[in-house]
């Protein structure tokens, strides 16, 4: 008698779902959330403060007038660099001019670069134009001191960091990739953003204190762009996982 053999059924994509248990998923999510919170805690209580002292020394070596001030963010004592905004009117006008030229240049370029990207650039340029005009006419009313501006900047950065780590952690947990791949992706994101955000803070201090106060709102509102990096890393991870999974039908459940 011929023995029946298990048939190899290729699941139609409409039936596919993942062969991961909810318990594994929830454990993994808890792990990423804890790791995210831990990283952010380490960042604001230790790493950032160390960096501020280190960067202050560099700036002082370069004869930049800068000191440190302790502030409180969500109950944590954080050190911030204290300096003064560069209120140079000619420079503001220069930025205004540059902004206008770039805006019109990009408007003209709309036929060359994709319409959606041109609109995106124009939108932010328009936003920055509003900011430039604000400084031109009401610059004296800018409501922040150097420290209070960076307090706001850091609060937004911490929120962005925590949100990005958790949301990308959740997205990674939803993918049935090998654990080494998931962890590598997560840690690349964490290390990258931690490092990048420190450099970005240093840059913001330099630009606002040495170049122009106009850079303050620009550096604040472009914090959002950082999220694109996260999505890019996630999408590459997803692409690699999809390639792997193509070879393993058993990971699908239907």
């Amino acid at each position: 008698m011929q023995k029946c053999q298990a048939q190899s059924i290729i699941p139609h994509r409409s039936y596919r779902r993942l062969k991961i248990s909810k318990a594994y998923f929830l454990t993994e999510v808890a792990f990423y959330v804890l790791l995210s919170v831990g990283t952010v805690y380490f960042y604001i209580t230790y790493l950032f403060n160390q960096y501020v002292f280190y960067f202050k020394n560099i700036l002082q070596d370069l004869h930049v007038d800068v000191s440190t001030t302790a502030i409180d963010i969500a109950g944590f004592p954080v050190m911030l660099l204290d300096s003064a905004f560069a209120h140079s009117q000619p420079l503001t006008l220069f930025f205004l001019l540059v902004g206008m030229i770039v805006l019109f240049f990009v408007l003209k370029m709309q036929r060359v670069i994709p319409y959606n990207i041109a609109m995106w650039i124009n939108f932010f340029l328009l936003m920055f134009m509003v900011i430039l005009l604000y400084f031109l006419f009401w610059g004296d009313h800018f409501p922040y001191s150097f420290v209070s501006y960076f307090e706001l900047y850091l609060t937004a950065l911490i929120g962005m960091m925590l949100f990005s780590f958790i949301i990308t952690g959740l997205a990674i947990a939803l993918t049935p990739a090998p654990y080494w791949m998931k962890l590598t992706t997560f840690f690349i994101m964490v290390f990258y953003y931690v490092g990048y955000s420190l450099v970005r803070y240093g840059l913001a201090v330099l630009l606002t204190s040495q170049v122009s106060i106009v850079m303050a709102p620009i550096m604040f509102f472009t914090l959002y762009f950082d999220f694109i990096f996260f999505v890019s890393i996630y999408s590459y991870f997803l692409y690699r996982s999809a390639l792997l999974l193509k070879k393993k039908d058993t990971l699908w459940k239907w």
Binding site: H12, R13, S14, Y15, R16, R17, L18, I20, K22, F25, A74, P114, Y115, N116, I117, M119, W120, N122, F123, M127, V130, I131, Y134, F142, P143, Y144, L152, T155, A156, I158, G159, M160, F163, I167, L170, A171, L174, T175, P217, F220, F221, L223, Y224, F227, I228, V231, S232, Y234, S235, Y236, L238, Y239, S241, A242, L243, L245, K246, W254
Partner: protein, 424 residues
Amino acid sequence: MEVVIFLLKAYLLVFIAIVTLYMIRHFVFTFNRLFGEQKLYYQDIMDNEVPFVTVIIPMKNEEFVAGQILERLVSSDYPVERLEIIPVNDHSEDATGEIIEKYAAAYRHVKPFHRLDKEDKPGKAHSLNDAMEIAEGEIVVVFDADYQPPDGIIRELAIGFKDPEVGAVMGRVLVENCATNMLTMMLELERSGGYQVDQQARYNLDLIPQYGGTVGAYRKEAVLKMGGFDPQVLAEDTELTYKMYLNGWHVAYANRAECYEEMPENWLDRAKQIRRWARGHNQVMFRYLVPLLASRYLNFKQKLDGLLLIFIYMMPTLLFFGILSSLLLFLAGDVEIVAGLFFLIFVVSLGAFGNFAPFFQIGAANFIDGRTKALRLIPLFAFNFVFYMLYVSLGFWDAVKDVFRKAEPYWDKTKRYQRGANHA
């Protein structure tokens, strides 16, 4: 001044709460689609008694695609004696009428319907209403002319009506010209997110799967009882979805009933399309918001889903005001209360509204679909939000104006690129 600041803060906080709700909703959908029990559609029902089906294809100047869709429909495996095909020639000025007549001469079950008199008002809603008057089928299947229905799809859509609670059925739409350029590639990713995850999860969770107006079917008698399609509403599909649920019917989603469509190949065509959708969807919102909340047929979950669905095309307008508020509050020195959260406004602008689902939903949907290289395009969605914000907001504004005027809105047809006339 203090009052203005207070209002801006209140607006921003409420807006952030709403977008967070949308984000959670999409995460629940994605989670359900990947891990939850999938509610299977009725395609496995084996029954020789299939209903009499009328396929209606509204066509206006569709010479590029008319031959293609008719060729596919006449070669369908649905029993010919239980099928009639009504291509509606809606004031076409090109060769559409001739192509239809050629098929009518060759196939008895193709029954052309020419709407050429001046008294016959143009538009999809009028075409469907008039065609339903002569349709013999108890079930009406609708395809737009640029669609390419595969074998078996009519049966798959029609079999769902074996369930007496089902008033309408929706199939899955795929992008035929996805490899044409970056836009069509991204639209394919977006579509996948909308159907493979969003629609299926809504169906799984007994929420409100949306009837999409094409690759779909409905009970003729039910729709006639509800007064047919209102020509004032540009989104007759969304309107039908809400009408069905408000009258105690359900919409079934057939994820396996896949059909290819042609998507716009340039951004200006896409802009027109999305503006029309937004206008129609918001017309439905103005009309059905109160009946939805007051409905005795819907439970809390369905009402909440219906509410979030009906508000989708208003979100980009709210987003614009959210960005404006955050900028004003920043310059006024009053953004502290939302400093840790304000970036959410931009982050969700990656697409947490409409078919433009958040990045993880698009990722998960395309992952299930087995796509690989296209997944790397996901970050590019970040560059679309200004485009959508502008054109969806314009559509919203059109809908606001429609509330005050009585004239029927003009249907701005999407441009076709196919050369399907060669089939004829």
